[in-house]
């Protein structure tokens, strides 16, 4: 491609990179907070059971309903950090051309998979909101915010996957682009 086009693409990539970094970072923070909240609830539950013989009502229910959101909110950063589990025993030995093909296929597959998961997650979240879904528990807390968080996390991961796909597809095999090889 011409230098002008290449630099236009690079600018676009840089912008996409900044936006997706911000989104993945915020989502990761939210995921961490949810995990911290689960820890706190679990500890308070045990302490209350021990001291006043009255466990925190619905603590286990809240924890299990919050888990999917916590997991998917961190998915964007997992992709970004290339913390996705990859078996690299063979592809480490690929020659550069094959390596590039494998990187593009991996990125494309990841994008398709997360896009599919995100579409399913939105379907689930919309159903939940329309039902005003609440937990079946001693305290009937709303579930839809957790499903919404799950869908938002899956969406951010999809954008992150798209960015990685663009990097894999646009990067020239002769020089390494940031995050190209792990």
């Amino acid at each position: 491609m011409t230098p002008a086009k290449a630099s236009g693409a690079a600018n676009l990539l840089r912008l996409a990179d900044r936006v997706s970094l911000a989104c993945s970072g915020i989502a990761l923070g939210a995921s961490g907070l949810v995990i911290l909240a689960i820890v706190a609830m679990g500890a308070v539950d045990v302490i209350m059971g021990f001291t006043v013989n009255y466990p925190l009502p619905a603590a286990t229910n809240v924890a299990e309903e919050a888990l999917p959101a916590a997991v998917f909110l961190a998915a964007g950063m997992v992709l970004r950090n290339r913390a996705n589990i990859v078996v690299d025993v063979l592809c480490d030995h690929f020659r550069s051309r094959l390596k590039r093909i494998s990187a593009v296929i991996a990125a494309l597959g990841t994008f398709v998979f997360f896009a599919l998961l995100a579409s399913g997650a939105w379907h689930l979240a919309v159903d939940s909101i329309s039902l005003n879904e609440r937990a079946v528990a001693a305290v009937e807390f709303p579930i839809w915010p957790m499903k919404l968080g799950f869908a938002i996390g899956a969406t951010i991961a999809t954008f992150e996957a798209l960015r990685l796909l663009a990097i894999a597809a646009l990067s020239s095999p002769s020089h390494q682009v940031e995050g190209q090889d792990t």
């Binding site: 995990i35 299990e64 961190a74 078996v87 296929i105």
Partner: protein
């Protein structure tokens, strides 16, 4: 296309993509989804997309994974484990491979509170691997040791797999738990002896301390293991005294580790933020594989592959020991490529009555089965424990190193499996004596 052909093609495709460098979760998930489309149409595929991922994660038994991972991350940050390993290293400075041994022993100890092998592997990668690397140990074998020792969690009670087996078959949970004690201890013993032999054959994998430590140095390091003991007593004591359920232990352990981190001055906002980010990323990369595996195994269920392959064995009319050998081989072969936990749920209801009908003891068979599931968690290329180690170790090792490093431990596992099969008393003596 027969169901067996469909299933095998699915496994072949998922495996090819995985080896071609596609993330494990993605290759299992995408092939699983395509497979579901193939065997059940778009409706089946869409329904899996919409509800499977959420409902797979939405289970309290999974909450312990991020909890214990956080405990491990914080324990590492607060140097709780570093101090334990340091003390051990100083006291055992003349024993080659002592850090492998302390890893094996503490994994066995952790198995008495954790029923999940993935949790053990993820936690000990955090705790033990950096220490082994710090003292110049071979990182691949160290990682293999962590992954393999993590499997103790499902033989030594409590054990989630045994509870599942009991519920599916109606066998006694208590008998199964007790039956797992000796095989679990035996596995740990075989590991210890084999490691002792291994470091003699290849001394370079576990260098000795360059100098002898003085008594005051030893005592000084011993003085710093207090926080570790506090944490261990909190978690183990909490469960065994009836203060909390095993499923609460993760949260309490993480809470305790946070307290110690604050006390040691590494519990501030930025430390906590790092620890939580690390925990979320680690847990999520394990959960992604779990989801991919569930999508894939649901495809195998709907294709009829699982039930047909069981039927082939059980209806073949071969001798009892041949059936046993066939069952073992199928689990090992399948276990190399797919996660056998979900497969077990489907196969046990068919296989259990057949084995009992052939005269095999159902408690003994439960132990054999749990052992087979343990083995499948550490057989490359698809093994959940291996992935839990990868997720937690990140850049410290490559997949290739890990796959090679786990091989000696796989050999030990096969040895123990053979012993358990040949000598049923290893599993049955204790329950028969105690109950």
């Amino acid at each position: 296309m027969s169901s067996v052909a469909i299933g095998l093609s699915g496994i072949f495709c998922a495996l090819s993509l995985t080896l071609f460098g596609v993330p494990v979760a993605v290759s299992l998930g995408l092939i699983g989804l395509s497979g579901m489309w193939f065997v059940g149409g778009e409706v089946l595929m869409r329904s899996a997309l919409e509800t499977l991922a959420y409902n797979a994660l939405n289970q309290y038994s999974f909450v312990v994974i991020p909890m214990f991972v956080l405990m491990g991350v914080l324990a590492n940050k607060a140097k709780i484990t570093q101090d334990l390993y340091e003390a051990f290293y100083r006291f055992m400075s003349k024993v080659r491979g002592s850090l492998f041994m302390v890893t094996i022993l503490s994994s066995a100890g952790f198995a008495t509170i954790s029923g999940s092998t993935v949790v053990s592997a993820a936690v000990f990668t955090r705790l033990a691997l950096p220490q082994m690397v710090r003292y110049g140990y071979h990182s691949g074998i160290g990682a293999g040791c962590v992954a393999a020792a993590g499997t103790f969690a499902s033989l030594i009670p409590p054990s989630i797999m045994m509870v599942i087996y009991a519920l599916l078959t109606g066998e006694s949970i208590g008998r199964l738990f007790i039956a797992g004690v000796i095989p679990g201890a035996l596995t740990a013993g075989v590991y210890l002896v084999s490691v002792w032999v291994m470091v003699r054959l290849r001394p370079q994998i576990a260098p000795l301390a360059p100098q002898e430590f003085t008594w005051s140095q030893k005592m000084e390091s011993l003085g710093r293991v207090g926080p570790f003991l506090v944490l261990a007593i909190l978690v183990v004591g909490g469960i065994y005294s009836g203060l909390m359920f095993p499923s609460s232990a993760g949260a309490v352990g993480a809470f305790g580790a946070l307290g110690i981190a604050i006390w040691r001055g590494v519990g501030g906002f930025s430390h906590l933020k790092d620890a939580l980010s690390e925990t979320a990323v680690t847990a999520t990369s394990v959960f992604m594989v779990l989801i991919g595996g569930l999508i894939f195994s649901r495809f195998l269920v709907f294709s009829g592959f699982i039930t047909d392959i069981v039927a082939v064995i059980t209806e073949s009319g071969i001798a009892p020991y041949q059936v046993l050998v066939a069952v073992v081989l199928v689990y090992i072969a399948l276990g190399m490529f797919i996660d056998t936990v979900s497969v077990t749920v489907i196969t046990v209801p068919f296989i259990h009555p057949v084995m009992v009908g052939l005269g095999y003891d159902p408690i003994w068979f439960g132990v054999v089965l749990v052992k087979l599931i343990e083995i499948s968690a550490i057989t490359p290329p698809v093994g959940l424990n291996l992935f839990a180690v990868m997720a937690s170790a990140r850049t410290q090792i490559s997949t290739g190193d890990l796959f090679k490093g786990v091989l000696p431990f796989l050999a030990m596992e096969f040895l123990v499996l053979l012993l358990i099969i040949m000598v049923p008393a290893i599993s049955l003596w204790l329950p028969e004596t105690m109950l």
